[in-house]
């Protein structure tokens, strides 16, 4: 009985891993962080850090 359950679990894990391997083979991963996200994040961080420093960072 236990070995049947273990086998079913192993099959389920295999199914999940295969699903990701299929995604990996595609040229575009759906919803992946893009270069545009990275640029936006860098700009946001820069504005926040520089703005906050100018606001109160100079003693």
């Amino acid at each position: 009985m236990n070995s049947q359950v273990d086998e079913a679990r192993a099959q389920d894990l295999e199914r999940r891993i295969r699903a990701y391997e299929e995604l990996e083979r595609r040229a575009h991963w759906p919803g992946a962080l893009s270069a545009r996200d990275v640029v936006a994040l860098s700009l946001l961080t820069l504005v926040m850090v520089a703005g906050a420093y100018l606001l109160g960072g100079q003693p």
């Binding site: 891993i17 391997e21 991963w29 962080l33 850090v49 906050a52 420093y53």
Partner: protein, 489 residues
């Protein structure tokens, strides 16, 4: 496959045993942003805002809160949410790729178990202080610092948290649903009382409560460091939340709404409250801010909110511990495990009650670890593995996996962790606040993150390939075959 079996496997994936498929994930952008905000707006924002007020006034404090939190949150989220959000893997399973199977267990104990025990003691003591202030308020007596009610209340809170955690997740969900909105109401009320007494210019000109150094640059940088530590303190938790998000972008951006935006706003309100009411202790603000009526309601909610926070972190930590520790620990009864977990926090409450007032010291110590962990995560996932994980390796038994490294531990990552931790303490000692000139312009977390990442990257490139550890792709390989990802036929 029948429906009940399918449901069982899905639950198992939700608990972290297997990767969650994109179709099984429950949160979109706003769903995660709400959950994230509810997690962020807890009693710890009061403590962090109050600690910031010790070192700097409100204007510098706002600056420190924004800079510290955005740096901490972005680095913590990049190293955890992006890989876990992409592959739907449990965070400490993902960590096997850099620390090995046993190494990830060690990291869990260092980052989650120790952190949770410390937080249980701090939040328990806050509950005790809330009860003590409630008594002071009701009986209209001056507060007594050495009151027996504080440790007794803290112990009671830990025991209650343990009892609720033993009851399971349903009770936790019901309690959590009311806490974040209640705390937002308390913050709004605090802001109202403060704005009735002070103009904005008066508010911003308030002095710091207890600046330890004459040099304001050092005090400011300590305030920034406390807030970076606050951002990094999400490292052990957010990866496992982000795997429930529909995709990688959804797993990342809401962190800037919740654990950055909502937490920063809460900390700024707390900073104002601490600066104007002359205390870094949130329980004292509730007593002083708005009279007996507000005080009784706010302190009662604060005690309840602490209790809920304690139950949440206790439950999550023990679930994870069971998951990672193997069969021996899984056979111990749930209630016994919860009770054993609470022994050390109770010891801390009894032997080191000063952890509450020096709470920021504890927080900054955790950053010495979390910043190095984030640096190693970024170096490994982005630069060494080029954002590709081999799930077969992650879920293989230790004996069959290239991630067995050396007896299940990756010595390179552990050495990088020690290097990052060491540089942190050399640049800035959280216990004594002793610091170097370097600290006043570079912080301690950033050098720690950078050095840990660099050591991990260089030693992996030099040694791991030769020793056959970790199945890292060679320098310029970006194709699927290099990462060993082709499906079995």
């Amino acid at each position: 496959m029948n429906a009940s079996r399918e449901q069982e496997f899905r639950l198992s994936a939700e608990r972290g045993d297997t990767p969650l498929l994109p179709s099984e994930r429950v949160w979109g952008f706003w769903g995660f942003a709400y959950a994230n905000s509810a997690l962020a707006v807890a009693t710890w924002v009061f403590l962090i805002g109050g600690a910031t007020a010790l070192f700097v006034g409100p204007l510098q404090g706002i600056s420190a809160i924004i800079i510290g939190n955005i740096i901490g949150v972005i680095l913590a989220a990049s190293s955890t949410c992006l890989p876990c959000g992409k592959y739907g893997v449990e965070q400490f399973t993902f960590l096997r790729s850099m620390f090995g199977i046993n190494g990830s267990r060690l990291v869990y104990i260092l980052s989650v178990v120790v952190l949770t025990m410390g937080w249980l003691a701090v939040l328990g003591l806050m509950c005790g202080r809330a009860l003590d202030n409630l008594e002071t308020l009701v009986q209209q007596q001056p507060p007594a610092a050495d009151d027996w009610l504080v440790p007794a209340g803290a112990l009671l809170a830990i025991v209650l948290a343990a009892l609720v955690a033993m009851r399971g997740p349903d009770m936790i969900r019901r309690l959590s649903a009311v806490i974040a909105p209640s705390l937002i109401l308390i913050m709004l009320a605090l802001m109202y009382f403060i704005s009735q007494r002070f103009s904005l210019s008066e508010l911003l000109a308030m002095p710091p409560l207890q600046p330890p150094f004459a040099d304001q640059r050092i005090n400011y940088m300590i305030a920034v460091e406390i807030n970076i530590a606050a951002g990094f303190s999400w490292w052990p938790y957010i990866g496992n939340l982000s795997r429930l998000c529909s995709n990688q972008r959804t797993a990342f951006w809401p962190n800037l709404v919740g654990v950055f935006g909502a937490a920063s706003l809460g900390e700024i309100v707390s900073l104002f409250a601490a600066s104007t009411l002359g205390s870094s202790d949130p329980t004292a603000w509730m007593r002083l801010a708005g009279g007996v009526g507000f005080g009784v309601v706010a302190l009662s909610f604060l005690a309840l909110a602490n209790l809920t926070g304690m139950v949440n972190i206790l439950y999550t930590a023990v679930i994870g511990l069971r998951q990672l520790a193997g069969e021996r620990l899984r056979s111990v009864r749930w209630g016994v495990l919860i009770a054993l977990f609470c022994v050390i926090p109770i010891g801390i409450v009894l032997c080191f009650p000063g952890i509450y007032d020096g709470f920021f010291i504890f927080l900054v110590w955790t950053s010495a670890l979390n910043s190095a962990l984030a640096g190693i995560g970024i170096a490994d996932y982005f630069f060494l593995r080029q954002q590709r994980l081999n799930l077969r390796h992650l879920y293989a038994a230790q004996a069959d996996s290239p991630l067995r490294f050396c007896k299940g531990f990756n010595p390179i990552a552990l050495l990088a962790l020690v290097a990052g931790f060491a540089i942190y303490v050399v640049v800035f000692n959280p216990q004594t606040l002793a610091n170097t000139t370097f600290f006043t312009f570079a912080t301690a977390s950033l050098p720690s993150c950078l050095l840990a990442g660099l050591v991990h990257y260089v030693l992996t490139r030099v040694l791991a390939t030769r020793l056959g550890w970790g199945s890292y792709p060679a320098g310029n390989e970006r194709n699927i075959e290099a990462a060993g990802l082709s499906a079995k036929d």
